[in-house]
Symmetry: C2
Subunit: 155 residues, 2 copies
DNA sequence: GGCTTATTGACATTGAATAGCAATTTCTTT
DNA sequence: AAAGAAATTGCTATTCAATGTCAATAAGCC
């Protein structure tokens, strides 16, 4: 809630405020992890995040990542994207347009899209069920062009 | 593909054909599990399914359930619904209208709904990205009426 | 600086999901 | 109907993502 000066606060500022508000502490480990998450637009899982942090020479334990993720979700900085091969996958959402995912069942390729009709559906749901909608997750599963071609050739 | 006689084949008939087509075998254990899954419209996880099967006096191992689920998904009889508290949750889809889920973040209450606009979105995605869409999953997360009330009272 | 207490990293533990295997059972073939 | 090949079962052991424990450390407040 400390959005001074009209400028958009950075994810680090947001998170620092969040921590203070909760009586928690801002540490170099947390900063390093957040910087890494926001350094690309890629989706990530704990393992891939851990590896890319280590590759840059930082020495952070996996436990710290596991402990940080729920806090980042609470602070609305990241979101669960999908659960695949036994692991949860995430992406950072702060500073990016909300979007949904079109995924290839075969090769796991992902296209991102957004569609205003989903917001309309949400509004109708609020009226119809009396829920207060917080967010949504629309995953569309299909076959990408090249996987369709492969499937056609092998038949 | 053995839809003879105009009548809709039962889930057991569907699955029997599926197994034959794959060179697999139809067993009493598989039949028991499928009957249980299709005996209600409830969502289920492996544990709850196992318990309700045991409560009816059947003696089936959990391993058989874990092994059957991927087959039922392949045969389009069930689908993953959501991943929560470390477990995947499923529902049977054969014989029921497709629907999406509106879930309360607080109390996990679930409303089911369907909206034709999602199908329109799918069509647009096929054109735009060249994917062949197979299915979708739209989860809307929010606060149900009573959880909103509770939240308002405690502030 | 000094004090309180959250956080870290190392290690142990949990628990869903999977793998291995011998005893059965299904299902095709005579 | 009996036999044989191969899939399935139930058991156990194993994997591995995620969580818990705890002493040492470090952040944040005075
Ligand atoms: Mn994305
Ligand atoms: Mn449902
Ligand atoms: Zn593909
Ligand atoms: Zn609720």
């Amino acid at each position: 809630m400390t959005a001074r000066k009209g400028k958009n606060p950075s994810e680090l500022e947001i998170f620092r405020d969040f921590l203070k508000h909760q009586g928690m502490r801002y540490t170099p480990e947390r900063e390093t992890i957040i910087r890494e998450i926001f350094s690309t637009h890629e989706h990530f899982d704990v393992d891939s995040l851990y590896l890319s942090i280590r590759q840059k020479g930082h020495r952070i334990s996996k436990a710290s990542i596991y402990r940080l993720i729920p806090l980042l979700i609470q602070a609305n900085l990241i979101e669960e994207v999908f659960f695949e091969k036994g692991q949860m996958h995430y992406e950072h959402i702060y500073g990016h347009e909300h979007h949904c995912h079109l995924r290839c069942k075969q090769c796991s390729k992902i296209e991102e899209f957004s569609d205003h009709r989903v917001a309309q559906i949400e509004q109708d749901l609020e009226k119809r069920f009396g829920y207060k909608v917080l967010r949504h997750r629309l995953d569309v599963i299909g076959l990408c062009k090249s996987c369709q071609k492969k499937a056609a050739e092998s038949s």
